[in-house]
Assembly symmetry: C2
Homo-oligomer: 468 residues x 2
C-alpha cells in the first residue's frame, strides 16, 4: 500500500525537476481535483500535478514508482463511479494542460489528440471537415478523451457506433514505472500479437496513464428523424425494437426507453406536456437516419395496424426533435428534483430484459413495498438505468441503509440473467464491493495478476476497481 | 521449455480419463494436423487430441500443465503465418469435434457456437434469419470461429464491418492451467474493469484456448453494386478513395486495388480479358450498397469529368459482378502460377501509403534489379499484399536467400512510415524474427510478461509470436 503522506525526497525531486507551477497543494484545488460527479467521497489528495507533456508525466510516474506514491489519473472528472476520486492522500495527475489537437488527417480520417482534450472540442475540431468522433453523451462538454478511453465510455449512440473502444486507433500510455508505450500508431489493421491497447481501454487508470490517442473518425451522420412511441410494456418495447432493426429503410441512431413513472416525474418537475393524450406503460424514443423516406412512412403506418404501438409522433424540425429528446434526457434531473433516487446502471442480454424487468418488479414489490422503480435507458444495447425512489414516508438514512441490502438483491437477479452490474459507468470505488456479481473468482484473480504485472508497486489508482 | 516426448504418466492419464478415440498418433493424422497453409514447416506433432467438450479441453490442459506438455490449439489450419504448425513434438488440440451451433437469438441478434464451427457454416446458419456474422474471406469454407477469433481475422469487408474483434460478444476460454473462463456472456455493454476477452482475441493461442463464443450478428447487407475503375497510380487510388468515402449516397463494402503487373499475370494465367481497352497503372474494385441510386449515377459521371478515373465499368448483374471480383481474387493464385512470389502482408497508415509505395519501388529497383513487385490488397484499410516475384534468370535458392535480406529492408521502410509487418495474417512462426519492426522493446517485454502471467509453464503454442 503506498503511503499517503508525500515523502520529503519526492517533493524535493519535484521541486528540482519540474516547473514551479507543476504541483499545487492549494486547499481549494485539492478539494476540486479530488472529486468527481459522484459527490459521495470527501476529496483529500496530497497534491495535484499538472504536467504539460508526456515527458513530464513519465518523469512524475518514475518518481512516484520510486517513492511508492499513489497516483490518481484525472481527466474531466465527470465519472459516476468514483474512479477519479482522490480521498486517501494520493497525488492527482491531471491531464488538463495536455489538450492539444493536431490537424485532422483527411486521407486517413483520423486525428491525434492529447488526453486532456475535451470530447466536445474534438467534435468541433472535426465537424468543420464533415467528420466526427462518435463518442457522445451528456457530459461531453467537460469529459476528456483520456477519460473517455480509460472508462470505455458509452452513451446514446452506442447502438449505431459501438463503444469508445472501437474508435481508438493509437494510444500513447505511460506505465507505472514511467515508460512510454506507443501502441498501434494510426493503423486499422495490425495483427502482431496481443493488442496491448485493449489492456488500457476501460481499465479506469489502474494499469497505465493515457497521454495521447489517435482517434478514428467517421462522416457526420445525415439528417436524423426523431420519433416517440407509446407502448404498453417492456415486452412491447422489445417487439418494436426487433421490428425496427429489421427495417432496411433506415439506420437506428438511438433506441431509448422510459416508463410512465419517469414521465410522470418529468412532467411534475419540468411542467412539460406529454405529446400523447392517453398515458401508456412505456415510451420509446427512436432516432433514425432514413435511407428511403417512402418506406419509412409505410413502416410507420404499419406499426398501428400491426399493434406494435398504441400511439406515436414524429418531430417536425429540430426544435420538436429537441423537445422529444428533452423527455428522455430530462429524466435523471427530474428524478432527483422530485425525490431521492438510488441509481444503478446495469445491462442484460437483450433477450433477458423482459424476464429481468418482470422479476425485479415482483421482487421489490414483495420485499420493499412503496419503493417506486423508475426504469429508463439505452434498451437497444441491453442497458437499463434503474432508479429506485425513496418512499416519502421513509427517513433518508433508513432508505440509504436499506439500499445497501437491496443492491445485492438486484445484483443477484442481474447475475442470474447473465447481466452486468455496470453497463457503462464503470466500477471505480462505488461498485467495487459488488464486482463479484459480474466477474468470477478466476476472472478476479486474473485481473489482480494483470495489475501486479503492470503496476507491481500498486501506485496507479490504488483501491479502484479491485484491491490488489 | 516443455519436453517434446510425451511422458508415460501423461499418456496413462489420457488413456484412463478420456474416450479411446480422444488421442491419435496415426502418422497420416500427425502430418495432416501438424501443418497449416504455409507449407514451409515439416509437421511433427507427438499426438492429436480431439475433445468433444469444454470439460475435456480443460482436463487435457490441466494434464499438459502438470506434465509440462506443449499444446498447439488447432482450428481449420488455414493460417498463413505458421501459428497452428506443430513441428516440435507438441500435442495438437483440435477443436474440430466441437462445432455445435445454438439457435440464433433473434431478439439479441447473437449466436452461441463452439470454437470448431466453420465460418461459412455460421454464415449459412444465420442467413436464413436475414442475419450474418460479417467475418468473411477466401478460406471461410475451412476456417473456424475459434481460429478467426484467435487471429482477429480480417478480410475484404473490414472497411465496412471492422475486424473479428468487433463481432465477439462472449468468449469461453480455457487457461493454460485448465480453468474455464466465461467472459462477457452476451453483453454489448459491460464496463467492469479490464476486458479480459481482448487478451485472447488475436493472441494466436498463446494465452488460452477458445472453446466457445457468443457472436454478434448484423442484418445481411442489401444489394451490392460492383465497379472497376482504371487509375494511373497509387496517388490516384487514394484520391478516389477519399472522394468515395465522402459520398453519402452509398456505403462502401469493399475498396480493393491491384496494379497492372498483377492484372498482366492474371491475364496470362486465367486467359481473362481486361474490361478496359487501354492498360492503366492501377485498378480499383469498389463494392458499394447504394442508398440513393440517382446520386450514385451522378457521382459516377462526375468521376471522369473531375479526372478521378481514366476508365470504369459497372457490373450488370451477379455474373458480371463475379467476373470483376475474379480479377481481384484470382491474383494470388495467378502470381504463383506464373512465377515464384515472395509474400508479405503489411499495413500502413492510409496517409503514408503513397510515399511508402514510391520509396519501396525505388529501393527495390536500386538494390534488387529485375525483381517485379506486384502490389494488391485492401487499400482502404491501409493493407497491402506485397508480392515480390523471382526474376526468371535467378535460381530459386538464391532468390529465397536474398529475400531474407530484402525483408528487413522492406520492414525498415514499413517501420519508418509507422506501419505493421503483419496486417492480418499474424506473426506465428513466419514473422516472429521480425516482430521488433512493429513492436518496441518495452512492448515486447510486456508481451512476455503477459505470457508468463497467463501461461507460467509456457505450454500454450510455445515459440509462436514471441519466445517467452
Amino acid at each position: 500500500m503506498p503511503t499517503s503522506a508525500l515523502p520529503a525526497d519526492f517533493l524535493r525531486a519535484i521541486a528540482e525537476g519540474f516547473p514551479p507551477d507543476f504541483l499545487t497543494r492549494e486547499p481549494a484545488e485539492l478539494s476540486e481535483y479530488g472529486r468527481d460527479w459522484t459527490r459521495v467521497y470527501t476529496p483529500a489528495p496530497s497534491a495535484v500535478a499538472l504536467p504539460r507533456s508526456t515527458d513530464e508525466v513519465a518523469r512524475l510516474l518514475a518518481l512516484c514508482h520510486q517513492h511508492q506514491v499513489a497516483v490518481v489519473p484525472s481527466g474531466g472528472r465527470t465519472g459516476l463511479a468514483g474512479g477519479a476520486v482522490a480521498a486517501r492522500g494520493e497525488v492527482v495527475l491531471s491531464l488538463q494542460r495536455m489538450a492539444r489537437m493536431e490537424p485532422v488527417d483527411l486521407l486517413g480520417n483520423t486525428v491525434r489528440v492529447q488526453a486532456g482534450a475535451v470530447t466536445e472540442a474534438v467534435h468541433h475540431h472535426c465537424a468543420e471537415h464533415g467528420l466526427t468522433w462518435p463518442v457522445d453523451f451528456a457530459s461531453k462538454g467537460s469529459s476528456t478523451v483520456g477519460g473517455n478511453i480509460a472508462t470505455n465510455a458509452g452513451g446514446v449512440k452506442v447502438i449505431r457506433y459501438g463503444l469508445t473502444r472501437q474508435w481508438v486507433l493509437g494510444l500513447q500510455v505511460v506505465t507505472a514505472e514511467g515508460q512510454v508505450l506507443e501502441l498501434n500508431g494510426a493503423l486499422e489493421k495490425n495483427n502482431t500479437g496481443t493488442d496491448l491497447r485493449q489492456l488500457f481501454i476501460g481499465s479506469e487508470g489502474t494499469l497505465g496513464v493515457i497521454t495521447e490517442a489517435t482517434l478514428k473518425l467517421t462522416q457526420l451522420p445525415g439528417r436524423q428523424d426523431v420519433f416517440l412511441f407509446a407502448v404498453p410494456d417492456v415486452a412491447a418495447v422489445l417487439r418494436l425494437f426487433r421490428d425496427a432493426r429489421q427495417q432496411t429503410s433506415f439506420l437506428i441512431s438511438a433506441y431509448e426507453f422510459f416508463t410512465d413513472r419517469c414521465l410522470a416525474r418529468l412532467q411534475r418537475h419540468r411542467k412539460l406536456r406529454s405529446p400523447f393524450e392517453a398515458p401508456s406503460g412505456c415510451y420509446v424514443l427512436l432516432e433514425a437516419e432514413a435511407k428511403d423516406s417512402a418506406a419509412v412512412e409505410a413502416w410507420l403506418g404499419s406499426l398501428f395496424e400491426r399493434g406494435l404501438v398504441t400511439d406515436g409522433t414524429q418531430a417536425q424540425g429540430a426544435s420538436q426533435a429537441a423537445e422529444l429528446w428533452a423527455l428522455r434526457e430530462g429524466i435523471s434531473e427530474s428524478l432527483s428534483a422530485t425525490g431521492l433516487p438510488h441509481k444503478n446502471d446495469i445491462s442484460l442480454p437483450v433477450a433477458g430484459l423482459e424476464a429481468f424487468c418482470g422479476e425485479l418488479e415482483s421482487l421489490f414489490t414483495a420485499r420493499y413495498p412503496g419503493w417506486e422503480i423508475c426504469l429508463f435507458g439505452h434498451i437497444g444495447d441491453g442497458n437499463l438505468h434503474v432508479n429506485v425512489m425513496k418512499p416519502d414516508d421513509m427517513e433518508k438514512a433508513a432508505f440509504l441503509a436499506r439500499t445497501k441490502e437491496a443492491d445485492p438483491t438486484m445484483f443477484e437477479l442481474v447475475k442470474k440473467h447473465g447481466g452486468s452490474i455496470s453497463a457503462e459507468h464503470g466500477i471505480g470505488l462505488l461498485k467495487k464491493d459488488y464486482l463479484g456479481y459480474s466477474r468470477s473468482p478466476a476472472e478476479l484473480e486474473l485481473l489482480r495478476a494483470l495489475k501486479r504485472t503492470l503496476d507491481p508497486r500498486g501506485i496507479l489508482n490504488p483501491g479502484k476497481v479491485i484491491d490488489s
